[in-house]
Symmetry: D3
Subunit: 255 residues, 6 copies
């Protein structure tokens, strides 16, 4: 059996056996939402899946883990004006995450890592963590791949870091995602309140927030410079993320 960390590929007896040597489960979480003219709707769940599977492979010899099926739908109402986007409600998503964690906990997994690839999911994930707090034995960790990059690596990409941008396109590309190379566009995105609310994860200074539709800040669905994306950049970022992710799993295994 290839990819033997995949929970869904095992029989229940195989899971029972695996639980004797492994108490860590990884849950990839993404979305099915527009990513501009060059990247498919699957981008977020594709990336989250790739990072999780690759991290599982990298750490396999030193530490067994299991990986559940990917949560392929996320919280994406702000992208609904772009065709094909599918969104769960925030409550559905957080309930789903909690249900999965409770199931894993019941089987004896002691550490669960939610590996998230979509910024829009963060609130729902936080709700799930809060709802489980005190009601679950397992420790549930939440790791966004884009927060595993560190500040340094961000220097190699052209800001803003936001959506289907240089960083995300480079990463997706390197990880094997379908990229419509010649459809890539650059669109910096509109600042909704100049100096306070701007579409850029790497922005500094005072900041506030507001709920909005992506159509208000971009026509193409892109916020960033996707024409700057290269597989080489992608490799550098992916390597860093995987290194950190593996190190993170190693750390929690000790707890």
């Amino acid at each position: 059996m290839e990819k033997e960390y995949l929970l869904a590929n095992m029989t229940w007896q195989e899971v029972e056996k695996r639980l004797k040597e492994c108490k860590i489960a990884l849950v990839p979480i993404g979305s099915t939402e527009q990513h501009g003219p060059a990247l498919p709707l699957s981008t977020d769940h594709y990336i989250a899946t790739q990072f999780t599977h690759r991290a599982a492979e990298m750490i396999w010899d030193e530490q067994k883990v299991v990986v559940t099926p990917t949560i392929t739908f996320g919280f994406s109402p702000h992208h609904m004006e772009f065709k094909g986007t599918i969104t769960l409600s925030e409550l559905t998503l957080s309930s789903m995450i909690a249900d999965i964690c409770h199931s894993l906990d019941q089987h004896g997994f002691e550490k669960i890592v939610l590996v998230n690839g979509h910024g829009g999911n963060e609130t729902a994930i936080s709700n799930a963590l809060h709802d489980m707090h005190g009601n679950i034995d397992a420790k549930v960790y939440h790791a966004n791949w884009y927060n595993m990059v560190g500040e340094k690596i961000r220097e190699i990409v052209t800001p803003p870091l936001y959506h289907a941008c240089d960083m995300e396109t480079s990463v997706a590309w390197y990880l094997g995602q379908r990229v419509l190379e010649d459809k890539r566009v650059d669109e910096p995105g509109k600042s909704l309140v100049p100096g306070f609310i701007s579409p850029d994860m790497s922005a500094t200074g005072p900041r506030a927030s507001v709920s909005y539709n992506f159509k208000e800040i971009t026509n193409s669905g892109v916020v960033g410079y996707s024409t700057q994306a290269t597989k080489e950049k992608g490799k550098q970022i992916v390597d860093t993320v995987l290194e950190n992710l593996v190190r993170f799993i190693r750390e929690i295994a000790k707890i």
Copy 2:
């Protein structure tokens, strides 16, 4: 692009274009739950995915459709005593289905077919259909593959028809699922109220129901005669199901 019916593989502009020739969306629904010692946890969602993708391919030239990512988690609390099973609550599952349908409806899909592979999901699917009734423009259809078999085909399999049984194992095998051939077992399952509540979808006569855990009726997780399963039987059943599924899509395309 291979499998060009896959929504998640498209960009939003490609979906926009596809919507001009296609208003039908298919949503495969399964579960991640124990299927005895010979079949992996993925069995239900694997089968639902296979049937949906193959039906899409078969009907493609005459009728375009899109297929969303598969709902890989289902309602499976009754299997939780078998390791690895993951269950959503019934409310989470029905909300998830409704959220996906509302998203598709908002984009202009007019007919949605939920292709289900897990009996335990039927109540949640029914809840979702009821909740959407009057609140959605699209027509949402619910088709269980095992109800697309018809009475005749059932004659080729050894009853009971229930879980990881002759029929399901044959179908999964033919569709390419990992089968641990020599781990297959036979277990007819216990009748909880003799003459009224028996684990067999093909049973006739008076019947009632009750909620139970699978451990009460089977030790192995199997209810049925999986040693009787063959790929040949699988092919016959799959062909019938696909023929009916394609015919069903053709019928609703006319409405």
Copy 3:
């Protein structure tokens, strides 16, 4: 005291005493919904009540039971275009059923039988059973009277078996319901997806489902041949149902 199986007619001390010899409670469930021009809105709850009371009387000497007040309102949104229909939401109905069962359970009843007379309630009943699973000591059984008929008895009635049809009208009539004999009509009902979705409980072959309003398939509210109904047929069906129901209660009393 007549009908001494009626819980509501007892004082709390009488219930306390009865609990020493009886741990079985029966809960009739129906609806208040249109049943065409010849049958009153009460039909479903009238029938469920009659079957339950009569079964209680039949089994009384060998096995004491109690019968709660009937749930007279059900899930009937699809009938709302016909005046007088009252519908609960699916959640209200399932909560109500669960609340009643939890109350009975708390008093020490160990087996509860929901005797249902309305197909539209099945999903809500299923929700209630699932919600109680693991949270209640009592075993809760669900029996639809029309599933206590068995295949054979269906041969004496003219299909389709659906709503205010030959079978239902015959049964209601024999059980003493008000029947406006000369208002009876025949209307076979419309198939929403020919070959797959037809209004007939006795249909065989591949099948799917969809949510719809009764107005889409019938003008009169009837789906079936109510002019074929006779009290004699009613008697035959009622006798069979009662025989099975009594046998069912006898079986669960042994568990």
Copy 4:
């Protein structure tokens, strides 16, 4: 047809016709809960039903009304220590009331009167009224029969007025309820906070409240002097209530 105000006894065409001359619907609401050693569990819903039916009969010639099936289960957790009591959650009950009113409203009833017989239901009824406010065209009125008594009539009964007391027993008796005459007991009930929280609807002076179980304030389930009850008193009270109820319906018919 006797009792031709009964909605459930009509066909949908009869309701349709009745709606041309009548826009007022009455909904009796009670409970299934202990009423001490002399009165059955049905007491509250029996009384509410009787008052509503009798008021409908009294006003029939001048004003047509319809009466829905009685809500026989109420909010009674505080009585659960007495066997046989069945309680809905407050949310289930208020949802049920709102569902029924929305159904009536949809058919064109313009005034709905909830005729309540159980003090424990008041909060849920209030919730239902609040939830419907602004979402329903019909005016929904809430009338407790014990608030239709007026201050004067209370003078003929021995206080406290609370539960299975002199007043309630007298009323039930006169209305034809089964009364175990020689089981009647007197129990004044315990004051939980003397001077502030006492079980007596007719108490004056400063007051506060607290949630409690009936077992804390009474051993028999009675709070009041049921041995003082007579059918004659019952008649006086019933006549007053009916007179007021009829007058109330007459008033709202004018609005």
Copy 5:
């Protein structure tokens, strides 16, 4: 530290210490809603806060208590047509009350008194009490200041007693609330069903209820004779309420 009964002014160590001598917590509850042209929106929460703080001060030497921050928002949808009114949903309010009580209970407070100043909150408070019943160790009491007046004191004010009326204005004024003296108006309020539903807390005789908007019964927002209000009346009422409130706290301290 002034007002040393104020929970929020203490550090957690001070609360820990205080809990050794005091198990009683008081929670003032009001609203932010229109009170006619002479009283500010804060009136209900201002009065509730004042009564609670003053009662705490009066009883301090004999009995320590703590007072939580005031719940300043209440259930006021019926006032939304008057600018500035803020309303919570009934569920939000009852959840909030329950959350606060559960927190106090968890810290070891054994008696909690909700001191309410807004009639519109009564249903939500009742919901909260019911929801906590059986799930909380602390006893939770509910006291409306206007029910601490007693019948006698009401004689000094001009009826109706309802909203921004003689009684409320007098009380607010004496307690130091901002009163726009020359903007006071008299408006008796409209009876929605004469003889049954009238805006007057002091009304006797048969009564029913209905949900309505204040605009239907008053133009100014006042129901009552606020020009009759005086600080002297206010003092008399306040003294009585405080005396009763202090006596009430003394009583529950003994339990």
Copy 6:
């Protein structure tokens, strides 16, 4: 009238008049939770209130605004092991915020700024913003005062920036909060996953998160160096925050 921006101090007519010149409402949000041995439980809501009132005063001459009563309770389950902390559930808090915003929106306020002082509230605020999105006309902005500091000002305080730390203590002190100067303590807080999950808002590098109780990372309730706090630092930070907050209000007034 002092502080004439305070909504609750106005009559409804005054609000009506104010709405002609002002469409901006500010809502301070805090918590009632432990802040170590030197700061009271009110700290977060005290600070949020102070910032909001002071900003309103500063911008008053150029731009009128109204300020609602402060939300004094927040989401603080992780502090419940420290006495006195009161927590709402995340759902209660988000519903409360949404209810308040919907009320303001209904009156015609077009821009609402939630001025938050408690990190633990961010998820609930985000939920509220998401829930209102598409259902409210007003733009709802979310500003945490600690995100109005900017990177530079952080340099004057000793890290970690977390809870009752140098920064928070300095700010509270300068704003007039009760500070038990000699009870101040230093406690850096425990890192739950070294290199990834550390209690410091100013930390850089890869990061993940997990739900935890404050007792796991601090004994005193403090995470930070509160002995380093001075009113002078407080002034610098407060001035910066106020300057940014005023600038933010000015910006949104233009939109």
